[in-house]
């Protein structure tokens, strides 16, 4: 197992290098003069020249790249022009909000998609199968930001069931003591049931929006993969040996069928992290996505660069987790390693 983890970690290194090179190229591709960009609209020629020296833009590209990598290793992502605070500090303080939203969205999505896909596969052409097909086709066509707005209209304006879609916690509550930064976990740790419920109420609509978007690829893959496995010879043998239907489906078929689904998770994470930005805008969610949008509108470059880098590294880590998960589900890989 340790060897496998080591190999996977080594395999992730080229991705990280690629990500760092691309984010570097993206800063140097700024339209016009990056120094003028970073100096702000009111800077004069002297200030721009000073910034150019300070940023090292007067040196060779290779030297600039080394400096950039050095800055990254020291955790220096630059300063935001509009807030004046270091980008790393802001990203770190906002990351838990995004993570909580993304993870809950994924959990909801998985807990609906897997049973739905399995039911659809074990009962082809039943109503569950048709429902699955409709959801799969509609789900991939729904723009995330639109789904979110429709949910807000129905559950906030029409029914009044959910609180105003403005942030992580209603103004009447104060945030729970900071341990993990995830409000649901922190409020539970502080044994504060009221805050937990309030945080959950704010979280449920945006997380559901993300879940609806990622439901489709997961349910489709679960169904297709279960169908393929259920028609395999070893399933027929298991049935013929008199194993119960539940054992055959959940023990024999499910584990084998999960492999393609876990592979799909990589693509799902890519969707999820992108959709996260849109959902954060709709629900005024104070995560790193809305931080990046504010920066985009203010043409504040350092935060955007930091955001892209953070998201990409997060994605690399998630993919690494998927690889490891794959190794746990499929022990044959360990033998190969």
């Amino acid at each position: 197992m340790l060897i496998l983890i080591g190999r996977r970690l080594a395999a992730a290194i080229p991705s990280v290098i690629g990500v760092v090179v691309v984010t570097f190229v993206l800063t140097r591709a700024l339209p016009g003069d990056p120094a003028a960009y970073f100096a702000g609209p009111n800077a004069d020629a002297k200030a721009i020249a000073e910034i150019r020296t300070a940023l090292g833009l007067d040196r060779s590209l290779a030297e600039q790249f080394l400096r950039y990598v050095g800055d990254l290793l020291r955790g220096d992502l630059g300063q935001s022009l509009s807030t004046g605070r270091p980008v790393l500090v802001e990203l770190a303080s906002r990351l838990p909000a995004s993570l909580e939203l993304t993870l809950l969205g994924l959990v909801i999505s998985l807990s609906i998609a897997l049973p739905l896909g399995i039911l659809a596969a074990t009962r082809p052409n039943s109503w569950v199968d048709h429902l699955c097909r409709v959801i799969v086709t509609l789900g991939v066509s729904m723009p995330t930001f639109f789904t979110g707005l429709v949910l807000v209209y129905v559950f906030y304006f029409l029914l009044g069931w959910s609180p105003a879609p403005l942030g992580r916690l209603d103004a009447f509550f104060s945030s729970p003591p900071d341990v993990t930064g995830l409000y649901l976990v922190d409020s539970l740790l502080a044994r504060d049931g009221e805050t937990f419920l309030a945080a959950a109420a704010q979280l449920i609509l945006p997380a559901a929006t993300l879940a609806i978007f990622t439901l489709a690829p997961l349910a489709r893959m679960t169904r297709a993969s279960m169908l393929a496995v259920l028609s395999a010879d070893f399933i027929r043998t298991a049935r013929a040996s008199g194993l119960s239907a539940a054992t055959v489906v959940f023990v024999y078929a499910f584990r084998n069928a999960m492999l393609p689904v876990v592979t799909t998770l990589g693509m799902v994470f890519s969707f999820l992290l992108g959709a996260n930005v849109l959902v954060e805008k709709v629900f005024a969610w104070p995560g790193i996505g809305s931080y990046a949008i504010e920066a985009l509108i203010a043409a504040d470059y350092a935060p955007i660069q930091g955001f892209v880098l953070t998201m990409a590294l997060l994605y690399v880590v998630l993919n690494l987790t998927i690889d490891l998960l794959y190794g746990i589900i499929d022990p044959r890989l360990e033998g190969a390693a």
Binding site: S141, F157, A312
Partner: protein, 281 residues
């Protein structure tokens, strides 16, 4: 040819959903071409006295906060949204197919270099990379097209590379080589036409994704600027009004956007059935 036509007719009539998608497609093409001529109102004309009216016989989709007719704006926006999506798909299609052909046919260093490029793009969450590209290159519609093309590029390369590698040593390629065809002639005269149908399917499957991506970028304020009518930006303009109950401002552009994506996804599935009947789902 009549054989193909009969097959197309069979695919269209066999599944009513496909027929619906084909009908929607014709509808969107007509709206893109004739939209500005058909719009009952000037999409830019604001009228404070008629602001935020719910849908009525005069204004089918209601009016927005500036009193502009939403139906006219949604109709006129079709051309811009389709242009962005189609041009980015064409770019990704052209460069992706060529790169995939080269990688699959030549192998070796070319294959590795192209593979590395594709892996690097895929190492990012795609929408986030698109945001970064637009932010870096400048906030314009052209760059939205470029960014959407770049994030779609890997999908084309992978399919083209796999299909090319699979056919590289097929009998008809050997035959062409024996009859004296040069490498370029084999690549563009034999392999390219052979993988083209599969690439077309890929194009129509990614078209919906391209529309979603472009609309998402303009929803967060990139690319298209107000007062230009565009679906994503119109949903953004209506987003704040959803809380106060003026649902029509965001709903109609959002619904039309969804229909367009839905239409291309269904068409992609139908096209796959025509090109590759074995993979029918």
């Amino acid at each position: 040819m009549t054989e193909t036509l009969r097959h197309v007719r069979h695919v269209l009539t066999e599944n009513p959903v496909t027929l619906l998608a084909a009908g929607l497609f014709v509808f969107f093409v007509l709206a893109a071409v004739l939209g500005p001529a058909l719009a009952p109102y000037d999409p830019f004309a604001s009228d404070a006295a008629r602001a935020l009216q719910p849908p009525s016989l005069r204004h089918w989709f209601g009016t927005d906060a500036l009193g502009r007719d939403i139906f006219s704006r949604v109709l006129v926006a079709t051309r811009l949204d389709m242009t962005i999506a189609i041009s980015s798909v064409i770019l990704a299609f052209a460069f992706g197919t060529l790169a995939g052909l080269a990688a699959g046919f030549m192998g070796g260093a070319t294959d590795q270099a192209i593979g590395r490029l594709v892996d690097t793009i895929m190492a990012f969450p795609l929408f986030v990379l698109a945001m970064g590209i637009v932010a870096a290159l400048g906030n314009t519609v052209t760059n939205i097209v470029l960014a959407t093309a770049i994030i779609n590029f890997p999908l084309y390369v992978r399919v083209a590379r796999a299909e090319t590698a699979q056919r590289k040593s097929a009998g008809f390629i050997e035959a062409a080589r024996l009859s004296g065809d040069g490498e370029a002639a084999i690549l563009f005269g034999q392999l390219l036409p052979n993988i083209l149908p599969i690439m077309m399917v890929q194009a129509s499957l990614t078209m919906g994704y391209a529309i979603l991506n472009a609309a998402g970028l303009s929803f967060i304020g990139l690319g298209v600027r107000p007062p230009t009518p565009e679906w994503g930006i119109m949903v953004a303009e209506g987003a704040g009004l959803m809380i106060s109950g003026e649902w029509w401002v965001a709903l109609f552009p959002g619904l039309v956007l969804m229909l367009a994506v839905f239409c291309f996804n269904l068409l992609g599935d139908a096209l796959r059935d025509i090109v590759d009947p074995r993979r029918r789902s």
